[in-house]
Structure formats: C-alpha cells, structure tokens
Symmetry: C2
Subunit: 289 residues, 2 copies
C-alpha cells in the first residue's frame, strides 16, 4: 500500500506525535507527523475513547485531516466516506492519504488508517475548489428553540468521547436502556459544540456528524452491541461558512431509516445557527439482537 515511486523512510521511533498538554483535545487527537510519501503517523488519545476503541467520528476527522495536511491538497472537503473495517487498538496508527486523481477543480483521495500492516479503516474523500453560484435550500432547518434556551445534558452513559461535547437535546436525549419498550421513532435533535469551545472546522464537523448514540438504542430502549461499518458525510460549508459559525453550537439532527438483518441506516444533518446546512451524513451500522 505504499507508493514505490516515492521515498519511504521507515517510521522512526519518535514519529508518533507527542501530546501538548495545552492543546485542545480535538487538535491533539488530530496531530499527524508526516512519514514521507503519502503516509502520516498518528495515535489514539484517551479523551476520545468509545466503548471499544476510539469514537468513529474522531477516526473520520483524522482521516480528513491527513488529506487536508497533504502538501498536494487542492480545495476544500466536499465528501468523505469512512468504512470501519476492523477495531482500532489504543496507540499508534499510520494513515495513507493518496491523491488518486487531481483535476482543475476537484481532487479525489484514497485513504486508509493502518495498524499492524492492515487497514483498520478505508476511506475516500473528494475535495473541490468552491466558487459562488446560484444557491437554494430544499431541506430547511427544523423549528427549534435557540441553544441558549435548551439545557445542556449530562451524559448518562460512561462514554468518554461524549464528554468532549456540550449537547443540548431538544428531542431524543440519552436513552434509558433499561426500559426495553420499542418506540415509534428514533429522532434526536440537539445543539452541540466541542468542549472546550473551539471554532468549527471541517474535521470537527465530520466528527459531529457521528456524535449521536446509535439509533437502535433509542428505538428499542435497550443496549445491544453495535458498530458503524460505513459513514458518508457531504460537506456544504466552505471555510468562510465554518468561520461564520465559529464556536457557537450547531444543530445536529439524526434519525433511523431502516433496521433489519443486523444493520440499520442512520441519517443526520448538521445546521449552522443561521439556518445553513453545513453537512449531511448517512451511515450503516451493525447491530446484534
């Protein structure tokens, strides 16, 4: 999986990024050290732990960061698909971020996050040069109270990564998994932002697109083993739109679509507080009965 046309130095013992205790936990988790060629060294960090391995959103964010950090990068992220192929063990990983094709206005990336010589995640991304055109909204922001009028939630399950977010649930807060009675839907609407506050950027947005507890937990109000197998995020916000949003909460909405045969589809939208659709996302999630 390395490009034989480029120098491939062996990963030096000190290639793994070290933690700056003053760094924001998101920026710390996204630290990458270039290894030459199309490879970068990274590592998991404790604040983003999920029940097993790291939060899927942080894996998506660090893959996107690798493409953004690549010296040949063109434009801004437009689409990201991450397939969770296997568990990510605590510790070091390598990312390969390869510009498979660069056009005048778009760039196509093939990515993988590798541990022990095999991919733990595969991914693709599309970047593009944005330009002003005709604009229209067809899906619009749901009617919700402003973030300041919604109480911030306290995570009710011991998931480390959830402490990295301020979540203000308008609908579908942390479910009680002891009820076991099926609900008619699994919608969640929340105002969310990074903790500590941090201006929004594309990796942070990609992570937020996955910052929902699994829809099957709400729908069934009970715990079952789950794991996202594939998430695709389409990014509508350019750097200027992200800068306008800054560190204020974004509205994140998710719902289940179809559950069956061990997998369910979950869709999500993330809105700016001015009503702009920043990103939308779909994922397929494995579940056990």
């Amino acid at each position: 999986m390395t490009d034989s046309g480029l120098p491939q130095p062996p990963a030096a013992p000190n290639a793994t990024p070290t933690t700056d205790p003053d760094a924001h936990p998101l920026d710390d988790a996204l630290q990458l050290a270039p290894l030459g060629g199309h490879r970068f060294a990274g590592r998991t960090t404790a604040p983003w732990a999920n029940m097993v391995g790291p939060f899927g959103g942080i894996t998506a964010a660090v893959l996107l960061r690798a493409a953004m950090d690549h010296p040949d990068r063109l434009g801004e992220p437009l689409a990201l698909t991450v397939n969770y192929a296997g568990p990510v063990a605590a510790g070091a990983f390598e990312i390969e971020a390869r510009p498979a094709r660069t056009n005048r206005g778009t760039q196509h990336w093939t990515l993988s996050l590798d541990q022990g010589g095999q991919p733990a995640s595969t991914a693709t991304a599309v970047f593009a040069v944005r330009r002003d055109t005709w604009t229209a909204r067809e899906l619009t922001l749901p009617e919700v109270p402003p973030a300041a009028e919604v109480e911030a939630s306290v995570p009710r399950i011991g998931i480390e990564w959830a402490k990295r977010y301020e979540m203000r649930f308008i609908e579908g807060g942390w479910p009680d998994l002891d009820i076991g009675e099926e609900l008619p839907h699994s919608r969640t609407m929340m105002w969310i932002r990074d903790l500590p506050e941090r201006p929004l950027d594309a990796p942070a947005l990609a992570a937020i697109c996955d910052a929902f507890y699994p829809r099957v937990f709400r729908r069934r109000q009970r715990f079952t083993p789950i794991g996202t197998v594939s998430i695709t995020t389409l990014i509508h916000a350019d750097a200027a739109a992200l800068a306008r949003q800054g560190a204020r909460p974004v509205l994140a909405c998710a719902r289940g679509v179809h559950f069956g045969q061990g997998f369910f589809e979950q869709r999500a939208e993330v809105w700016g507080d001015d009503g702009t659709l920043l990103a939308s996302s779909i994922q397929m999630v494995y579940f056990r009965d």
Copy 2:
C-alpha cells in the same frame, strides 16, 4: 495499484469482453473478464451512453459487479461509494477490486476503474453476511398509485441510457428545460424497471439509485452542465428480497437537499412494491451556473 504478491499477467489483446447480441443490455455492460490478481477487464457499451461518457449508474453497477465476481467475495453488498474522478472514455477499462480486509461477517473493498493508467473512478464497498434480526421501518413508502395505474413516460431528452428504463412518473417527470423559472422543490417519484424486463439484483439496484435526471434541472427548469462527483448507496435488500421483487417496477424517489457554490446534494430511496426499503442513496453533484 497492483498487488505485487500476486501474478499480474499483462492484459491479453482479447481480454476485453465481447458482446453477446442476445444478452440483456445491463448484463452485457456488466461483463468482466478476470485479468488475474485483483483486476478485471471491461468496456463501455453504447446503450448506456450519457451526454458525456457512460451513465454514472452503470459505472457504479460494474464496480459492484467486480467485487461480486471476485473469488474471495464474502456475503452481499451493503454499502457502495463511487467517486467520479474523471471522464470515462468510450472503450476498454480495467477495474481493480481489492478486498482490503475480510472479517468473519463483513468485507471491505477498495476499488478503482482505470483508463490510461489512471483512475476514472475510485470506490469503496462493504459486503456483509446478513442474518435474521429484529426489524423496523422508520421511513415508510409514500402513498402512491400502483405502477399499473401510472402512465409510462417517453424520455424528452436524447439521453441514450434513459431508454434502458421504463419510467412511470408520479411526480417530477422529465423537466422542460426551456422554462427557466425556479420551482420550490425538485422532487421526483417514479415507478421504474429495467427495459427489457429483468429480475432485480444488486448491480441493477445500484444503477437505479442514480437513474434520476439532475435535481438542478428541475429546480431551475433549465439546462446547466452537471456531473456527479460522489454517490453513496446503502443496500437494505438481500438476495431473497431482490428475488421477491423480481422484474416488477420499484418506486424510486429523489429530491434535492442543498444547492450552492457549484455543488448540490441529491437524496434518493428505492422501494419494493411491498413497501420494503431496498436502497437509499445520497450524491454530491457538480453544477455550473
């Protein structure tokens, strides 16, 4: 982009599949000849031509077919992302379909469709072994008349691939591109099936997920240059569900989500006539003003 651990015979002059005049046009377009390693030879076919190059849905279908044809394939398709990286020229292409990681119940694929030594499309796919579990629907089939009560449409623009489908529009039929007046939405609902009739399978379903004219044409009622840059399709139907549907029309629904800065998001669902969600899909499409 080849696996040096496996024999890589040079493509023989006769490696490109030849056309069986009795074959269904879809099956003919999906013919692949194994080249050894993870590579397959294919070629474009005239019945699936789009305005420029082949219909994106047929490219998605042939990439999926390559993974399905691979001798190491496990299970059935669950998720497919295809990124249209560059134009596909009429004639021969090669597909690389590499099982990046195979687990007990899931398999992760990295794919590309190459011409002239560079990728015209990159893709990933996830396959899975399906099993019976708890099932629930959260999105349900819209209320529509049965296919037999809806008139079959005659394509109003000279797009060759559209002749490969019987389309019965309930809402949002072929737009009049000379009007130029903006509409409030871009929804389409249609009953659709392959022409000639053909039992549904996963590649046919993946193609149907892209068988909508671009939403920007309807919304603006005018023509602009467009091109899908990335499509993701989540497949909920296993082989048994596809067999139950057979060759009867499926209900295909699409709508625009957000248009701006040269790209728009289009979402689609494809339903069986028994109300089962067979697949859902999102794509990001480039457009010019």
